[in-house]
């Protein structure tokens, strides 16, 4: 994929999503009269339940229940919003949460969403030699409790090591959603079977705006729309991250409403296709030559 210059109109033929558009039409998934796909939106929900508090050695009761909010309120609320906009999303699950609170994850699957892996205890520290076995542990828990096999992973907190990708490959994963270095998917070095789907944990995320930036929900909404509109003129890859937890996330009513409004804005655009990270990964890996690093 060629670099798309900033500020210049992209010629219709250079739209990187034309092959996807053709595939969707061939499969009957896009109306003949619909505009060509110009942007892909992936909604990712980092469930981050009590695993986060337990990982921090906090007993998940009393005040340490921001994660429990996700289980009790946030996930159902996000599922309702996604269903109303008819969007399939990717839910990143910590192994501990699936083990102890399987019900919301069954509801996620029943609604047609993807479950992907997100650490066991949302480990926000260097795991050393333990890392491959912890990745395998969460993988097994998701398989056994939910009966599905995850193919994607996003680092809890964004930490990775040289052990990560080999361990994910060993488990059969085909994408990693943890890098922050490009506005487009790209093949992992020398590996036509594994795709990097970068996330944007700065300005297409809820937590940094709410927790660090102390933004109003209306301000976060405006920033998401500005990012979406700018990316839609360029690479057209929009990777949104939200958290259904309390305190910093988008589970609570005011912030869930901002998410709802943003997804409403996205849903109203005729040239946008919303898909899970797994569906995007499979599309990219079917056309590896389009996604080599520039």
């Amino acid at each position: 994929m060629q670099r798309i210059p900033y500020g210049a109109a992209v010629r219709a033929d250079d739209n990187p999503w034309l092959p996807l558009d053709r595939e969707l039409r061939a499969q009957g998934l896009r109306a003949a009269s619909a505009a060509p796909v110009r942007a892909v939106v992936c909604v990712t929900v980092h469930v981050d339940g009590p695993a986060v508090e337990v990982g921090r050695k906090q007993f998940p009761a009393g005040p340490y229940t921001a994660g429990r909010y996700a289980i009790r309120r946030g996930v159902p609320r996000h599922l309702e919003i996604l269903a109303r906009h008819r969007m399939a999303a990717t839910f990143f699950a910590c192994g501990y949460d699936v083990e102890h609170y399987p019900a919301p994850f069954h509801a996620i699957l029943a609604a047609g969403h993807e479950i992907a892996a997100h650490g066991y205890l949302h480990e926000a520290w260097d795991l050393g030699d333990e890392e491959p076995s912890l990745l395998a542990k969460t993988h097994r828990i998701i398989q056994q409790e939910l009966g599905v096999t995850p193919v994607g992973w996003c680092s809890p907190s964004g930490r990775k090591s040289h052990r990560t990708l080999p361990a994910l490959r060993e488990l059969g994963y085909c994408y990693d959603a943890s890098e922050k270095d490009q506005d487009r998917p790209y093949l992992a070095d020398g590996d036509a079977g594994f795709i990097m789907l970068p996330n944007n944990t700065v300005s297409l995320d809820d937590y940094p705006f709410y927790f660090s930036g102390h933004s109003l929900a209306a301000e976060a909404y405006d920033n998401w729309v500005q990012e979406f509109e700018a990316l839609r003129q360029a690479e057209g890859y929009v990777h949104l991250t939200v958290h259904p937890k309390a305190a910093g996330g988008s589970g609570t009513p005011a912030r869930a409403a901002a998410l709802d409004r943003f997804l409403g804005h996205v849903a109203a655009q005729p040239d946008v296709h919303v898909m899970t990270l797994e569906a995007l990964a499979r599309h990219c890996l079917a056309h590896p030559d389009h996604w080599r690093r520039a």
Binding site: Y6, S155, G158, K180, S203, F209, G213, N223, A230
Partner: protein
């Protein structure tokens, strides 16, 4: 007739250099590799924006980043931008002791080799200065420094041991990283820039805008560059002219 207003647009070219100063580059992934966004499109996009605006900027290059962005360094020179020095590889100048002169000299020489001309200016925001830094910069032939935040206008560096040199102060309120490191929305960052920039131009007719090409603390993302363009157009509409640090320093020294 209003007083002249001058805006410097400056870019601290930072990719993974700050993180690579303390960890091997191959160990930088995920959250520790935000800086790779500068190489993955951020820096090229900032150059696109400056070309659209017809503005010649000053790029402060650590040698570490210049080596990784040779094509974009050359592109920036073709576009008429100034290449100034930002040291070698994010070392802490205040701890280098006797090695400081050697490190600064090596940085100047390598950048000169890559650009074909000795840099006229220096900026360092990665660490404190030592008592020797300004005198060393003078010995190395620098005409200006742009590391200080202690004035609203250029001033002579004689009292700091930089006889014949000028300081072109930058402004932390008119810098992207100041605001984005706190993860504010870009509308908030823009509001801060307007507040600071308008008042600086009204005070002394001088404002130094500092940008970074990263996506986390900088403006490498297209949505943020649109805000920067809005700011530059606002300054232009207020009668400001844009110049490089090198040209302003030469002008200031001539007047003395």
């Amino acid at each position: 007739m209003t007083a002249p207003k001058t805006v410097l647009v400056t870019l601290n070219v930072q990719g993974v250099g700050p993180e690579a100063a303390t960890q091997p580059e191959t160990a930088l992934h995920g959250r520790d590799a935000h800086g790779r966004y500068a190489y993955g499109g951020g820096l090229a996009r900032v150059l696109d924006m400056l070309r659209r605006q017809g503005i010649r900027a000053t790029l402060f290059w650590p040698v570490f980043e210049a080596e990784r962005c040779r094509d974009l360094l050359e592109q920036s020179l073709r576009d008429g931008h100034e290449a100034a020095s930002q040291g070698n590889a994010f070392e802490d100048l205040s701890t280098l002791g006797d090695r400081e002169g050697e490190v600064l000299e090596r940085a100047r020489d390598r950048l000169a080799q890559l650009t074909g001309a000795a840099p006229q200016g220096f900026r360092y925001t990665s660490s404190a200065f030592s008592a020797r830094t300004v005198p060393l910069l003078r010995q190395l032939g620098y005409r200006y420094d742009s590391s200080a935040i202690d004035d609203d206008a250029p001033y002579a560096l004689d009292l700091d041991g930089g006889a014949g040199m000028v300081e072109l102060p930058w402004s932390e309120g008119l810098c992207d990283a100041t605001h984005f490191s706190r993860r504010v929305t870009q509308d908030r960052a823009y509001a801060h820039w307007v507040e600071q920039g308008d008042a600086l131009l009204a005070a002394e007719g001088y404002a130094c805008l500092t940008l970074h090409p990263r996506a986390d603390n900088g403006v490498g993302r297209a949505a943020r560059l649109q805000k920067v363009e809005q700011l530059l157009e606002r300054f232009r509409a207020a009668g400001a002219t844009f110049t490089t640090c090198g040209d302003l320093a030469a002008h200031a020294l001539q007047r003395e």
